[in-house]
């Protein structure tokens, strides 16, 4: 029995990691394009799309996210059943953090800060890549810390 009450229905933990893999590739491309003034505007457009996708994940959760839907329809049927299901809230929290970081990149880019887009994309890439490749869980690492410094209110 988990100590957490009102736990929502579990999701396949491979779903969010599948999405994180796509996101990390897109972010790496964004970094690449963002480093060159000639392709900076393409990087900005790409980061805009990524930010919008993070927003969908942060608001509606992984199962309603395009990658989540793709995973459910085309990937999961080809896999064996997962060993265990996962709480959908941690990946949703990670999407929110991704949204904030990517949005900061958009703001920096809008103000013409040099490498602002590439820098934010690089930061988001590290988290997405660690999640996809190493099952790193951002919520596990920073949620309590953010609460302790008062950035997240208790409820």
């Amino acid at each position: 029995m988990s100590a957490t009450s009102k736990t929502p229905a579990g999701i396949d933990p491979r779903g969010p990691r599948f999405g994180a893999a796509i996101t990390s590739v897109l972010l790496l491309v964004t970094v690449f394009l963002g480093l060159n003034p000639a392709t900076e505007s393409t990087a900005y457009a790409l980061l805009f799309v990524i930010t919008a996708l993070f927003a969908v994940g942060a608001i509606f959760g992984n199962s309603k996210h395009p990658y989540g839907l793709f995973f459910k329809k085309f990937v999961r049927p080809r896999l064996t059943a997962p060993k265990e299901l996962e709480d959908p809230r941690p990946p949703q929290f990670a999407q929110l953090i991704g949204f904030i970081v990517a949005a900061v990149g958009l703001v920096l880019g809008a103000f013409g800060v040099a490498y602002g887009v590439a820098g934010a994309a690089a930061a988001a890439f590290i988290a997405a890549f660690l999640n996809a490749a190493f099952a790193f869980c951002l919520g596990c690492q920073i949620y309590v810390g953010l609460q302790r410094i008062g950035l997240i209110k208790q409820h």
Partner: protein
């Protein structure tokens, strides 16, 4: 920046993230000894198991797991301890959700969840496991307490 330095930067980022991931993977879920650990107050931490307050420690060892609600690895860690409990009568696992217990997070300096404190039969903290406890870590901890 030209094309080749762009490529080097991106590959460097990939390498950096990989190294960070490998270091994290190696360190997470391992135990650190706590010298002169304090005695845990079961009332203070609000230890509840199967709907009832916990009043005594495991006769051999107690694993006190701090969890939060945005923690995908907490449930999986709890499952490992439940399996251990099922095999050993003298092992106790307590899970405390600190999402709304900032006092405990501060008191025990918890930065990540799960964080598991290993307690001896008197409730004294002997080790601390940061992150999802590895199976080997749990077995080693169990082995360090003789019956």
């Amino acid at each position: 920046m030209n094309l080749s330095s762009q490529l080097i930067a991106v590959l460097g980022l990939l390498a950096l993230a990989t190294i960070a991931g490998l270091i994290w993977k190696a360190k997470t879920g391992t135990a650190k000894r706590v010298p002169n650990g304090e005695v845990i107050d079961l009332k203070e931490i609000g230890a509840i198991k199967d709907g009832k307050p916990v009043t005594s420690f495991g006769e051999r060892v107690t694993f006190l797991q701090f969890s939060s609600e945005v923690c995908s690895q907490c449930a999986q860690t709890a499952r490992l301890f439940h399996e251990l409990e099922a095999q050993h009568d003298d092992v106790l696992h307590i899970e405390v959700d600190i999402t709304n217990r900032l006092d405990l997070a501060n008191k025990f300096n918890i930065l990540q969840t799960p964080t598991t404190l290993v307690l001896d039969k008197n409730g004294v903290v002997t080790s601390r496991i940061g992150g999802a406890a590895k199976s080997q870590t749990i077995q080693d901890q169990l082995g360090s307490f003789h019956i």
